[in-house]
């Protein structure tokens, strides 16, 4: 037997697959957004609201990743958006290969904007590139304003932070200003949108960002 030195990062094969998928999606003009958050932060409720608000002007599809069950995909399908449920069979995150298989199964013809609703957890999804064009994370008010201190990687990796359930602010000890300060300390470039998908407060600003992101994505990349 001979020794072969490799010095390869374990995530290298995934990073390569992710880059390839991102390039293909760009060519097809489909903006895939990786949506990450804890369980129960209101991912599906937020996406339902976005589909209701933007469904007439953008063709939206949702890839629902869960360890098991079908309920999320059923909620999205009820709104008329294309959706597919992906079961990771116990895996705590989506990687580029799983994302590709899910998208191929669902089909992306006539799609402008696709959401990948990642597994509910603030740790593992941050470490795996799925091939998405943008990363959006959700933090809900009941989870607390200290989460950037506990899960810094997720906040560092995301392009956008949506703070959900702001209609519940009066009932929680949640300091929005302090949160913004903590998050910007970790990631000065991140955009922060506080919203309530229930009352609609703040949705306009988030949806304006989404529209702009889709428009930009469709401009052919400068080579």
């Amino acid at each position: 037997m001979k020794v072969i030195e490799l010095h390869k990062s374990v995530t290298e094969s995934n990073d390569r697959d992710a880059e390839k998928l991102r390039r293909e999606l760009r060519q097809q003009g489909v903006l895939l957004i990786n949506v990450m958050s804890s369980a129960g932060s209101g991912k599906t409720t937020l996406l339902s609201r976005i589909i209701r608000d933007l469904g007439k002007e953008l063709r939206i599809a949702v890839l629902e990743a869960d360890i098991d069950a079908q309920v999320d995909a059923e909620r999205i399908a009820a709104l008329g958006a294309r959706s597919i449920q992906v079961h990771t069979d116990g895996m705590c995150h989506m990687d580029a290969g799983m994302t590709r298989r899910g998208l191929e199964e669902m089909g992306l013809a006539e799609t402008d904007l696709a959401f990948l609703e990642n597994i509910g957890n603030l740790i593992c999804p941050a470490e795996y590139d799925t091939g998405a064009g943008k990363k959006l994370m959700i933090l809900s008010v009941p989870e607390g304003d200290d989460k950037p201190l506990k899960y810094p990687l997720m906040f560092r990796e995301s392009d956008v932070l949506v703070v959900t359930k702001i209609d519940a602010l009066p009932y929680f000890n949640f300091d929005l200003e302090k949160l913004v300060e903590r998050v910007h300390h970790l990631n000065p470039a991140i955009r922060i949108y506080p919203v309530s998908a229930k009352t609609g407060e703040g949705m306009e600003a988030l949806e304006a960002w989404l529209r702009e992101a889709v428009r930009e994505w469709k401009v052919p990349a400068q080579l």
Binding site: M1, K2, V3, I4, E5, L6, H7, K8, S9, V10, T11, E12, S13, N14, G90, M91, C92, H93, D95, I123, C124, E127
Partner: protein, 116 residues
């Protein structure tokens, strides 16, 4: 955390390397694991043992793990310190402007293999 999926990523990479180099059998795999990579080595070994018997190329492969110490660098006083002991705040000057130099790795360092 996600030990099993790391094992599958290692296997994928090794499959590619085996195909490129005409490797028929792998005797051992040496991984470098950073102290703060979040990988729990006990779980990792269990996942490896579970997976390898299901993956012909790795069936006989012995897993060797080498730990890489976590070291943080302070941008203000330009000194390095042990991450696990002091975390984000520099113990010398109290600065928060610090970054991790090593300790987050998960690399395939080398393998022992037989080729055609």
């Amino acid at each position: 955390m996600h030990e099993l999926s790391i094992v599958t990523h290692v296997a994928e990479t090794l499959d590619e390397i085996a195909a490129e180099n005409g490797i028929t059998r792998i005797g051992s795999v040496t991984l470098e694991i950073g102290e703060v990579s979040g990988i729990i080595t006990d779980y990792f070994v269990d996942c490896w043992d579970y997976f390898k018997v299901r993956h012909p190329l790795l069936r006989e492969a012995v897993l060797k793990l080498e730990e890489i110490k976590a070291v943080t660098f302070c941008e203000d006083c330009k000194r390095e310190y042990e991450t696990v002991k002091y975390a984000k705040i520099c113990p010398y000057c109290g600065s928060e402007h610090t970054f991790l130099v090593t300790g987050n790795e998960c690399n395939i360092k080398e393998i022992e293999a037989e080729t055609d």
